[in-house]
């Protein structure tokens, strides 16, 4: 037998490719971020890699007050995906900004704080608290895939008007220079119209996609598998939906920076999003499969860019949209 038991090492990235990306006024050294809710507040992941090596850590969506989240069970594995129903458990923004953010800051990681709320005011107040931390936070991602208590629990992201109200309020509370990204849900008839109304309301850019609404029934108990009945579907199963959303929104709003996500497991998957028009990508469920996924994917991406003849990430952004006779950057 040939014994090959070695610590799993990520491939080295190709150093000659310029991975820098810009998201509005935000310049990041690399386009690879963690996805909100899939990296906690960063601390646990730091056992697996140096958090400052990737583009940024997007933290779990935080709300104004502490939140218990939903009852268990909270997950179901599905083919090439998973369903989750966490219910935005978290310590509340005050404790989060006082404890988690400072810890994360001292690692040298760039921090994008994801915020959530039950009402427009919730969002605005949480955003204001985050902004008060100053430059230690690089940007805010606004998770509008939450139920709006004042509108029959309809998810903000499912209605262009509710979505824009949230974004406008957050924009007002953080001021003009601070980048904010609206995180869109794919569970809509027309994602482009939601994207447009978020941008009109002051979003610097867009993050997409959040999970798809799904349901799994346990065929043993013959009841829904997660306590919340429905849950959010993530993982490679949904990648074609995410890539489609990024493609459509980029085609409609070519100047708006997009953070793409949904099922990215490898550098090639990240590259797909970049080609579709994303300026950065977030790694979610992949981290559960592989704790070093974000860094590995970043290295695979830089190697793939080099193989395809790109010297800088920026040349590849939206390259999939080029006309048949247009072969730049090669």
């Amino acid at each position: 037998m040939s014994l090959k038991v070695v610590n799993r090492k990520s491939p080295e990235g190709n150093m000659s490719v310029d991975l820098r990306t810009t998201l509005g006024s935000l310049l990041l050294p690399t386009p690879v971020l963690t996805a909100s809710g899939c990296a906690g507040s960063g601390k646990e992941l730091s056992a697996f890699f140096d958090l400052s090596e990737i583009g940024a850590i997007v933290t779990k969506s935080i709300m104004q007050n502490p939140r218990s989240g939903r009852a268990t069970p909270r997950m179901a594995e599905t083919p090439s995906g998973m369903l989750n129903s966490i219910g935005l458990q978290g310590p509340g923004v005050e404790k989060f900004m006082n404890e988690d953010v400072p810890w994360l800051a001292q690692t040298g990681a760039r921090i994008i704080v994801s915020i959530a709320g039950n009402s427009v005011e919730d969002f605005a107040r949480t955003a204001a608290r985050v902004r008060r931390a100053g430059d230690v936070v690089s940007a805010i991602e606004v998770n509008i895939s939450c139920p709006n208590v004042s509108n029959r629990g309809l998810v903000f992201a499912c209605d262009p008007i509710s979505a824009s109200e949230v974004i406008r309020a957050v924009r007002r509370s953080v001021g003009g220079l601070f980048p904010i990204f609206a995180k869109l849900s794919p569970d809509v008839t027309d994602i482009v119209s939601v994207a447009k109304s978020c941008v009109d309301a002051g979003a610097t850019g867009l993050a997409m996609i959040n999970t798809l609404l799904g349901l799994v029934i346990d065929t043993k108990t013959m009841r829904p598998k997660v306590a919340g009945i429905t849950g959010g579907l993530s993982g490679p199963a949904i990648r074609p939906v995410g890539v489609r959303a990024v493609w459509q929104v980029h085609a409609a709003l070519p100047k708006v920076p997009i953070i793409g996500m949904g099922g990215i497991m490898s550098g090639a998957d990240a590259f797909e999003y970049i080609l579709a028009g994303a300026s950065a990508v977030s790694i979610g469920t992949a981290t559960f499969h592989d704790p070093t996924a974000a860094l590995r994917i970043q290295n695979e991406l830089s190697n793939l860019l080099a193989e395809r003849g790109f010297t800088a990430l920026k040349e590849a952004i939206a390259y999939g949209h080029r006309a048949a006779d247009e072969e730049v950057g090669q």
Binding site: V5, G40, S46, A47, G69, T72, P73, E77, G90
Partner: protein
Amino acid sequence: MATASSPLQVRGEVISLKRVGEYYQMAIAAPGIAERAKPGQFVALAVGGEPTSMLLRRAFSIYAADERGVFGGTIEIVFARQGIGTKWLSQLPSHSSVDIVGPLGNPFPIPASPLKTLLIGGGYGSAPLFSLAEVLRTRGCRVEMFLGAATGERLFGIVEGRRAASQLTLVTEDGSVGLRGRVTDHLDELMTRTQTELIYACGPMGMLQAISVFAKERSVPAQCLVEEEMACGIGVCMTCVLPIRGDDGVIRMTRTCVAGPSFDGDTILWEEIGSIPSGTLGAEDLG
């Protein structure tokens, strides 16, 4: 930051896989992990090969860890074939490569003074108890072991238990091996006889709950190694929570993967698992 006790991700190799009663016992060369492992910790294995349709790792208690195996540091697990992931594992040829993360979770707490301990294992739940017994004995504790299961085929570790414990008691529901009945049917007698001062328990949640209630009545602490479904095993996903009362009296939905997997049974709100107990931190705000 990675430290000497941080978990590692290693490409391990299956050294052996054998059936033991209803279970499978697998030895995996996993250098680094074996050296760090302490009783009560677990490992998380990727399943399904590449490209897999099963994204989530499967968690298994470390049954044994040998820093100086023939193939380098080796760990062993014992598992039941439950669903598609463990079915896949049960068919892995020797020398297959497996992606393994560990050691995860906290070790069992070890008492500072030598106590009379009772280690209770239900089914494959006995797996983490043998290495624990060893440590307890080096600390001067008396170790009594009590293993139960539905049938004899589902008792794991009779031989190991004889070696590891001062005394081993067995119980099966069908009475095929040892006493007849459930662990809790005989707990009273056993605790009295052995003057138990500290319990460690691992097995089905129902058993742990019954033991916790029982132990509390006699003011004996019971450390319970719980199993809640885990998506990540490393503390980043929030799926594996249980309602647990903290030292400050506050109930929180607590991640069992990083705060556990073993807890003082008295702190777990057993009755309320599957709901959000009223008074839980942040419960009032749930939409």
